[in-house]
């Protein structure tokens, strides 16, 4: 592989492998149609070059080089996610099962050593070829172990809980994400960062930090900041900005949904009903605007999430307005017609999305 075409991270490597596979399939189709014929030595050289490229990519980045491999990888990703959570939970539960039987110094030693040991294991795994999913699991356990450290020390020494736990966890998760090119810890880190951001307005106003989310505008603010952070240039991690947008927008859309139905948790200087009305309008405007923005910026994940949010808002409002006043048959008939109308809208959207790919 030439230096100019060397990928900088796993997602670039995967894209290169996908291109090679698509090229080979198309070349086979062109040859079958008789539109092109290569000299045997040219064909051999091209095949050898692609085999070398795929071999290098597979060794360096553990990429999927076939469609079957991709499907298996998806299953492995789900298994890694479940495994990561399960093992992290196991570490936490094991500690609490035994901590009463060991002296305080040993409790502290275990709590400090656990995340360090899991980090060393994550690092070791990341250096071994073909252990991408194992690395993901170990990183999740390392994160869970640091959470246990903070929780355990807090419980042993009756430490006053503070919002500082969130930036500490976020920083560790971001080290795991950027250090080992993993999106799961990135999402975890961004959620911790959001929780900390959500405490800021409360703490600045002299409020109790643990009441973050009440008012729900705090999460609106946090989500908006996370979305804004996706604009930071990070060329070596080209598949990270979509994670920023997914986490940030999910927070924004959820906050808008809550505020649309619980105006009393809003800080707007209006009565609760008016606040709900304002946020109902805002939720449609924001979801619609983000669909348009996602199409314009060629961000498929933004378009999908915003479309999902738009549908949820629409169905929720439809239910609110008509469930009590309509006969059931008419309610479902109109819901069906609404779905057909949405299909028409999405058909046009789909045609535009084809251009994003």
């Amino acid at each position: 592989m030439g230096a100019s075409s060397a990928p900088r991270n796993r997602s670039e490597a995967q894209r290169r492998a996908d291109r090679v596979r698509a090229f080979r399939e198309e070349l086979a189709a062109v040859r079958a149609d008789g539109a092109l014929s290569l000299a045997p030595e040219q064909e051999a050289a091209l095949t050898a070059y692609h085999e070398r490229v795929l071999g290098d990519l597979s060794r360096a980045f553990d990429v999927d080089v076939s469609e079957q491999q991709k499907k298996v990888s998806l299953g492995m990703q789900v298994a890694a996610l479940v495994g990561g959570f399960a093992l992290a939970a196991s570490v936490v539960l094991l500690f609490f099962r035994i901590w009463g039987l060991i002296p305080t110094a040993a409790q502290v030693g275990l709590l400090v050593a656990a995340p360090a040991a899991m980090l060393v294991a994550t690092d070791w795994s990341s250096r071994r070829g073909g252990l991408r999913f194992t690395t993901m699991v170990l990183a999740a356990v390392a994160f869970g172990a640091l959470l246990l450290t903070l929780q355990g020390l807090g419980q042993i020494f009756a430490i006053t809980p503070t919002a500082a736990i969130f930036p500490a966890l976020a920083l560790f998760a971001l080290v795991l994400a950027y250090g080992y090119d993993l999106r799961l810890p990135l999402a975890g880190g961004l959620i911790c960062l959001s929780l900390w951001l959500a405490t800021l307005p409360l703490r600045l106003g002299g409020g109790w930090w643990a009441d973050f989310g009440d008012p729900a505008e705090d999460f609106l603010f946090a989500g908006a900041v996370v979305v804004a952070l996706s604009f930071l240039r990070q060329p070596r991690f080209s598949d990270f900005p979509p994670v920023f947008r997914l986490v940030g927008l999910a927070e924004v859309f959820l906050s808008l949904l809550v505020l649309s139905y619980a105006g009393e948790v809003s800080q707007l200087p209006v009565d609760a009903d008016t606040a709900e009305g304002i946020y109902q309008v805002a939720s449609f405007v924001v979801a619609g605007a983000m669909i348009a923005f996602g199409i314009a910026r060629r961000w498929p994940e933004t378009v999908y999430l915003s479309t999902g949010a738009f549908i949820v808002y629409l169905v929720a409002k439809y239910f609110d307005w008509w469930w009590d006043v309509m006969p059931r048959w008419l309610f479902f008939l109109l819901l069906g017609l609404l779905a057909l109308a949405l299909l028409g809208v999405f058909r046009r959207l789909r045609a535009r999305l084809a251009g994003l790919r």
Partner: protein, 297 residues
């Protein structure tokens, strides 16, 4: 990026977080403590054991309440006190804007004073005994059964020795000002907690308050009013250090099970305390159990 950088950066975060936390513990536990209280089982009960947790913890009993999530609405937490704690109480409870105004008031971190064996706990106990006697003396439809009467008599007889002597007596945003008002460090401990203000009206009952028949929900009742409450005491519970667990092992700890814990009684134990606990409140107001000794009574 150097291939070792993520490992070193991650280790640095772990060390900084753990080291910072442990330094805070060291700071809290060195120097002169803020207070030292000699509590008994009636003020600090052992939480029920859990199958998945080999540690044991104790929790506060005060003003007839107990548990890590206890909240109190003392009578001294009136409108003036709420204002002193930083709440905007400028809107009258009867005002049409009151509900929305007080809904928007965030909870505030405060310092609270817990007094051991003072007038406040004695007054609380006296009021509770008065209510019990009134219940026992009730005739007609509301008259207690013979079994309940016997229970009341038992509770009244054991109350002086089994009711908590710990009471919530004051709160402030300023720790030093609170300590200046309560200088006795052997009788008054200061803890961090959270204060809230709540507007009640339209028949809505204040948080945790039940109707006389025990039902939850709403019912027509008095004028709209403000209610202040203190909750989320920090810490809500104290872990028993493993080295002190032996002192508790001699006791039948199963008596501190859920039945006892859920009991709706001020004289919670119904018997004299079985242990005394020396609790030290450090410089950062984070308490720890220093000693546990059995009580022979």
């Amino acid at each position: 990026m150097s291939r070792r950088l993520p490992l070193w950066a991650g280790l640095a975060v772990i060390l900084a977080v753990s080291g910072g936390t442990l330094f805070g513990v060291l700071w809290n536990r060195t120097g002169s403590p803020d207070a030292v209280l000699e509590l008994e089982e009636r003020e600090l009960i052992v939480l029920p054991a859990e199958r998945e947790n080999s540690g044991r913890a104790m929790t506060w009993v005060l003003d007839g309440m107990r548990g890590p999530w206890l909240h109190a609405s003392p009578t001294w937490l009136d409108r003036d006190k709420l204002a002193a704690l930083g709440f905007d109480v400028g809107v009258a409870p009867q005002s049409p804007d009151a509900e929305r105004h007080y809904q928007r008031q965030p909870a505030r971190p405060v310092f609270v004073a817990l007094e051991l064996g003072g007038d406040a706990s004695r007054e609380y106990l006296a009021a509770w005994e008065r209510r019990l006697r009134e219940d026992a003396a009730r005739t007609g439809e509301g008259a207690p059964s013979a079994q309940r009467k016997a229970e009341i008599e038992r509770e009244l007889a054991t109350a002086p020795e089994s009711a908590s002597r710990l009471a919530l007596v004051d709160a402030d945003r300023d720790r030093e000002a609170l300590r200046a008002r309560h200088p006795d460090r052997r009788r008054v401990a200061i803890l961090r907690a959270v204060a809230r203000v709540r507007w009640t009206g339209n028949g809505e009952r204040p948080h945790g308050e039940k109707a006389k028949d025990g039902a939850e929900g709403t019912e027509p009742k008095e004028e709209p009013r403000l209610e202040g409450s203190v909750m989320e005491f920090s810490p809500g519970m104290l872990t028993v250090p493993p080295r002190l667990l032996a002192a508790l092992e001699a006791l039948p700890l199963q008596e501190s099970g859920p039945q006892l814990f859920d009991a709706e009684r001020v004289a919670l134990l119904g018997r004299p305390s079985r242990y005394r606990v020396r609790v030290v409140f450090g410089r950062s107001l984070e308490p720890w159990i220093e000693a546990i000794e059995p009580l022979q009574k």
